[in-house]
Amino acid sequence: MKSLEYAIETRRLNISYGDDRVIKDVDMKIPKKTVFALMGPSGCGKSTMLRAFNRILELNKDAKVSGEIRLFGENIYGPGVDPTEVRKETGMVFQYPNPFPHLTVFENVAIGLRLNKLVKSRDELEDRVHWALEKAALLEEVRDRLKNYPSELSGGQKQRLVIARALAMKPKILLMDEPTANIDPIGTRKIEELLFELKREYTIVLVTHSPAQAARVSNHVGFLYLGELIEVGKTGKIFESPGSELTEKYLTGELI
């Protein structure tokens, strides 16, 4: 496959915190319009790598990145690249639902659009916010609560609000860092169903600590262990016949 066919491609990716190397020489290809699950035991570096994909890692001054990460063919770590622009193409969802507490539901979804001046009129803004909330399967539940604050929503609803906030920017890639780790089972199921819908239009990278979730939801999967990419490929194949012994151990729960 040519590189333009991949949503994300890493080449010789190394990430360190100070002297501590947490991602070691990773070459990984993530295809377009799929759910790609990034799994591995805690501490293996998956959240770190996810944050390199939208350069949010730089908020941590100790982090050093070397190698290439290409989004749709362009190296986002190339010279002269503005990380702010990279982040407009990607949307991020976090482990703990973090809608901005001081903004209403509506304003939460609108804020990215407003500050980045991506819409030209109030009407366009409202349309986009409604559209994003619908895409995140939240509109029905908050239709008459748009002026309320996120503190009144349930955990699952908050997370879908975060998803709407990200979707409003119309990114090409969604980066999700263990999005259901702190959500109740029903909310989790709703979000997983949402992923099935979204992957038709978006490339989704899903960091998860649950192999079961990866099996349920993803089409491709990559297994990271202590910073190294052990195995990557189609979900079905990896789960049925893992190539590496480590992968097998992880899938059967022997590695935590």
Binding site: K61, R87, K88, Y96, I111, L115, N116, A166, M169
Partner: protein, 277 residues
């Protein structure tokens, strides 16, 4: 059975000692509040409302009250914007070389002898212009206020969970907008509280005004370039006078100042969980 345990006795004594020290530390406040009230209320009652509205000749401290308000307001206008910007800078770059020096500098200026600030502003403004003025006094107060506001702001913002930072930047919003328009508003309560506390503190200052404001009590101030008085400055002058009548006025003025301070400071302080002075 009578059991004798030295450790238990030490324990009791320790509690008593520590409680006593605490009372000693805090008791002066009660005594001061009581004394000021007791001594001051007589004067105010005797003079009536004129005490608040009249000039010194009429037995009132009106011009001083207005002076305090003018000085506090002007110093806030001058000092707060700069201090907010510096505080936010210190929050955003805590580890850069300039950032660290800035934080240290702010801490130094927090405890700087206020009389020296007054002397500096005197040299800067009063001497070249040849006159005491509201502007000079306000500038001195602004310099004193700035480190407080800056430190409160930086502290309030650094208490915001990191995840909101990630969320804001993750939306592709640039640093200026992320920090000023998303993160700072989350901290607005803490920042506002810091502003109010710093303003209250500065309103009660005396030393920086000694050689900048000049004092004006026989008539009301009406110009920024002319001398002005303040309640604190007036008290200082009155206390040093030999006249007992002046002393009575001083108590009355002290009561007014104290009431203003407490009614502003206590509610604000109680609405915040942790405060650093």
């Amino acid at each position: 059975m009578w059991k004798y345990d030295t450790r238990k006795i030490k324990e009791k004594l320790f509690l008593i000692a520590v409680a006593a020290l605490t009372i000693l530390a805090v008791f002066p406040l009660f005594h001061i509040v009581f004394t000021v009230f007791y001594e001051g209320i007589g004067t105010i009652m005797a003079t009536g409302p004129t005490f608040i509205t009249g000039t010194l000749g009429e037995g009132g401290i009106g011009p001083a009250i207005v002076g305090t308000l003018m000085l506090t307001l002007l110093s806030s206008i001058i000092g707060i914007p700069i201090a907010l910007a510096v505080g936010i800078y210190a929050y955003e770059y805590p580890n850069s070389r300039i950032g660290k020096i800035t934080t240290t500098l702010l801490q130094i200026m927090l405890e700087f002898p206020t009389i020296l600030v007054g002397l500096f502003v005197m040299q800067l403004i009063v001497i070249p212009t040849g006159s005491y003025s509201v502007i000079a006094g306000a500038l001195a107060l602004a310099i004193i206020m700035m480190p407080y506001v800056a430190v409160y702001t930086a502290e309030s913002m650094s208490q915001i969970p990191f995840t909101f930072r990630e969320a804001a930047f993750g939306l592709g919003v640039n640093r200026a907008k992320s920090v000023f328009m998303i993160i700072a508003p989350i901290a607005k309560r803490g920042i506002l509280t810091g502003l109010l506390i710093s303003t209250a503190k500065v309103a009660g200052e005396t030393a920086p005004l000694l050689f900048t404001a000049g004092g004006l009590y026989q008539s009301y101030p009406h110009s920024l370039t002319e001398p002005v008085g303040s309640i604190s400055l007036l008290i200082y002058t009155l206390v040093q006078s030999p006249s007992a009548a002046d002393h009575q006025m001083a108590w009355g003025a002290a009561l007014v100042l104290m009431v203003i301070f407490l009614t502003v400071f206590i509610p604000i302080r109680m609405s915040l969980k942790e405060v650093k002075l």
